[in-house]
Every structure is written in structure tokens, then in C-alpha cells.
Symmetry: C2
């Protein structure tokens, strides 16, 4: 019996750096707004507002801008100036078109897998428009047989995708930097997950250690090392 | 030889009103900002800014808010107040969670097609997170075998989807209110398009008459009438 195999890659902070660009934008904006509050206060309030707006705005740079604007309006009781808000828009726009630099070994690993003949998928969560644009800017489009951009990477999402592509869990491998999105839900379905940590982990993607008890997955220090766990 | 058939429905202004909510938000905001400029000026400037930002922000309510904020900052040379910008955010948030009211005959038509046994797809462009939320709020999720949310509905998009679902153009029908997105690219591929016009058409979706010369499609005054053109 022939079975279909499928290897899926996360994109942000797995194939190219993303979080550092957001960290940089936050840092610059907090420096700009320091006459209203210090960076710690701004950061804490921003994360609160961002979380409250999450069910409406979702992930990504547009969500970042809108919640940052709202944070500063609240913190200043409306005294923030139009020009300061324009700066938030300007930094946010850069988050939507920064040049994509590939992480080490990315092209080498994708080319090797392409040779092995297993179908490859790019599987990323976030803003549809933004993620499509990043893939186009990355120049990696031709390596992927499938591209799936989803609003959330949880067990239901992975189950739906395996159904759609008629792949059994044991024939599926997910590679990514997020324990929460790329590893936990995949391992729970009985599929294989390879965790390739990235130095900048977004607070929203952190997982308490007790949630990892009894979960089986691989850890690789680089994409090149991850090759050993792939069909 | 068995062939797969597929019927796809557009969502906004085909299954439920959407544009009227945006029109209402614009109207209210222009009334609020009337001490800076009249509604015509605001509307014209907004559309210019929106178009310039389109390649970064895409479609949808978040894009609407960000471009509206930028428009007012520009028009007022930064004098717009934080509280006025908060009003833009508040109207914009309502665009992300208004109750979905179905257009006439929607449930009746979907139930009838479900009985006929042809697979149904919801095929909409826009913001992934927002469109998923609207579908959930509509209560129509169970009628659809497939949901595809895309960043643009052009010939390339339709070609890719027909490939993915292994459907021949002659076995595909698209139903929607937009000549630009639901009719023209579909008819050009040799598939069937049923245009169900809606009273509020977004300026960005308008098509000059000469582009329709030689294009064959059906026009129905309601979804119920559209049934006559469906397998």
C-alpha cells in the first residue's frame, strides 16, 4: 500500500527571522514615547491591550500597529500626537516589507528534501496577505508543493489539514521553532514534530514545562540537524 | 468517467451584507471629523491613502482603520487628537464583530444544494482571521465542504483552486456579487459564473463596461433565482 508523506515547515523564525524585527520596532517606539512612560510600562500595557484585541485583530503587523496605537492613546489619556501615531504606522509598515533573510542552511535543506521527493508544505499562522508577501520575498516559493496559511495552529487545524491532504499522522512531520504551535499539537496527534529553537521566542508562544510532560518530539539545533529526522 | 463538480459561493454581500457596514462606519467618522474637512474630501483622500497602502495592508477592517488613521493625520498635519483616533479604532472594531444577518433565501438555497449532493465551497477574499470569524458568526459553516480564504480572486487563484480540488472548469460554478472577483476571472477560465448583484458595490470592485464585452455569464436577481443555473 502506498502512503502519502508530507513534510511541513513553519515560516517565521524557522526559515527566516521575524520576531527580531518586531522586537526592534517595539524598542524604537518605546524610545520615542519615553516621555510618556518607561519601556517596561509601555511593554506591559501593550501586551495587555494586544491580548484583549487578539480575538478581533489576530496576529501580525497590522494587529501590532492597531494595539500599539490604542495602548499609547490610553496611556496618555489621548494626549499622544498625530505625528507620534504616524511613527507607529511607519514602523509597522516596515514590518510588512522588510527584506527576508534566510536562516542558515534553509536553501540547502529544502533542496535536499526536494531531491528525496517528499512533498513539502509551508504551514504558517498569521495574516494571509502578510505571510504570502513574505513567502514571495523569500524566493522559496518553488520549493513548496503546498502553502497553508491558517489563523491558529492547534490540533483541530492539523487534523483538518491531514484530512484534506489524505495523510496519516505517522506520515506527517512538522518542523518549527514554536513548542506551542509546531510541536505540542502535532505530537498529540501522533505525528512527528521537530523543534528547531530560535533565540527570540515570542512570549505568546511560550509553553509551561508541565505541558511538555509525556510529549515525544525531536529537538535539533539547526535545520541541517533536523534532516536526520525527516523521511 | 466520473467528474467532480464544485459550487463556490462568495461571502461578503453575497451571503450577508458587508459593504453597508463599512459605508456606515465611513459616514459616521466623516461626520465626526467634519471640522477638519467635508465628507467628500475625506472620502477622496481616504481612498487614495487606502490604495497606496493596499500592497501592504490588503483588504478588510484592519486595513480600513490603519488607512483612515493615516488619512486624518495627513489631512490635519498631525493635529488630529488621540480621542478622535480612538473613535476610528472603535468604529473599526465594530466592523470586526457585527452580527451577521443572512441575505434572503441563503439558508434555503444552501439546504437545497446540500440535498442535490454537489460539494459546496465558501470562497472569499480578505483578511483570514476576519473572514473565519464572519463564517463562524453566520452559523453557515456546516453547509460548506470546503472553505478557502484568499488574498485575491484572479484567474491564477481560480486555476490553482481547480487544480487543488481536481475540478475541470466546466464542472465549476462561482456565485457572487462582484463582477471583478467572482465573474470575470471565472468566465475567462471557461467556468460558469452567476452574478447576483448587490445594491452597495464597493468602488474597488467596479468593472468598466468594455471589460465585459464577449464575456459569458449568468445574472440572477437573487440567490433563489441563481439555483436555476446550478447543477
Amino acid at each position: 500500500m502506498t502512503t502519502l508523506q508530507l513534510i511541513a515547515f513553519d515560516a517565521d523564525d524557522t526559515l527566516w527571522p521575524n520576531q527580531p524585527h518586531f522586537d526592534y520596532a517595539e524598542e524604537q517606539l518605546y524610545a520615542l514615547l519615553t516621555h510618556y512612560a518607561d519601556a517596561d510600562t509601555l511593554g506591559r500595557r501593550f501586551y495587555e491591550v494586544w491580548r484583549q484585541n487578539m480575538h478581533l485583530f489576530g496576529y501580525g503587523a497590522k494587529s501590532f500597529m492597531l494595539s500599539m496605537i490604542e495602548t499609547v492613546i490610553q496611556l496618555t489619556n489621548g494626549r499622544v500626537t498625530g505625528n507620534e501615531i504616524q511613527q507607529i504606522l511607519d514602523y509597522g509598515k516596515r514590518l510588512l516589507d522588510f527584506p527576508i533573510e534566510l536562516l542558515p542552511h534553509v536553501e540547502e535543506v529544502l533542496a535536499e528534501l526536494k531531491q528525496r521527493g517528499v512533498p513539502l508544505m509551508l504551514l504558517t499562522k498569521g495574516d494571509l496577505f502578510d505571510q504570502e508577501s513574505k513567502l514571495a520575498r523569500s524566493g522559496l516559493g518553488d520549493y513548496f508543493d503546498h502553502v497553508e496559511i491558517v489563523s491558529e495552529k492547534n490540533e483541530a487545524t492539523y487534523r483538518r489539514l491531514l484530512m484534506r491532504y489524505q495523510v496519516r499522522p505517522e506520515d506527517f512531520v512538522m518542523i518549527g521553532n514554536s513548542l506551542k504551535s509546531d510541536v505540542l499539537p502535532v505530537a498529540k496527534l501522533g505525528a512527528r514534530a521537530v523543534h528547531v529553537p530560535y533565540h527570540a521566542t515570542w512570549i505568546h508562544e511560550e509553553v509551561p514545562a508541565d505541558q511538555l510532560v509525556g510529549i515525544t518530539f525531536h529537538r535539533a539545533d539547526s535545520l541541517k540537524e533536523a534532516l536526520a529526522y525527516l523521511p
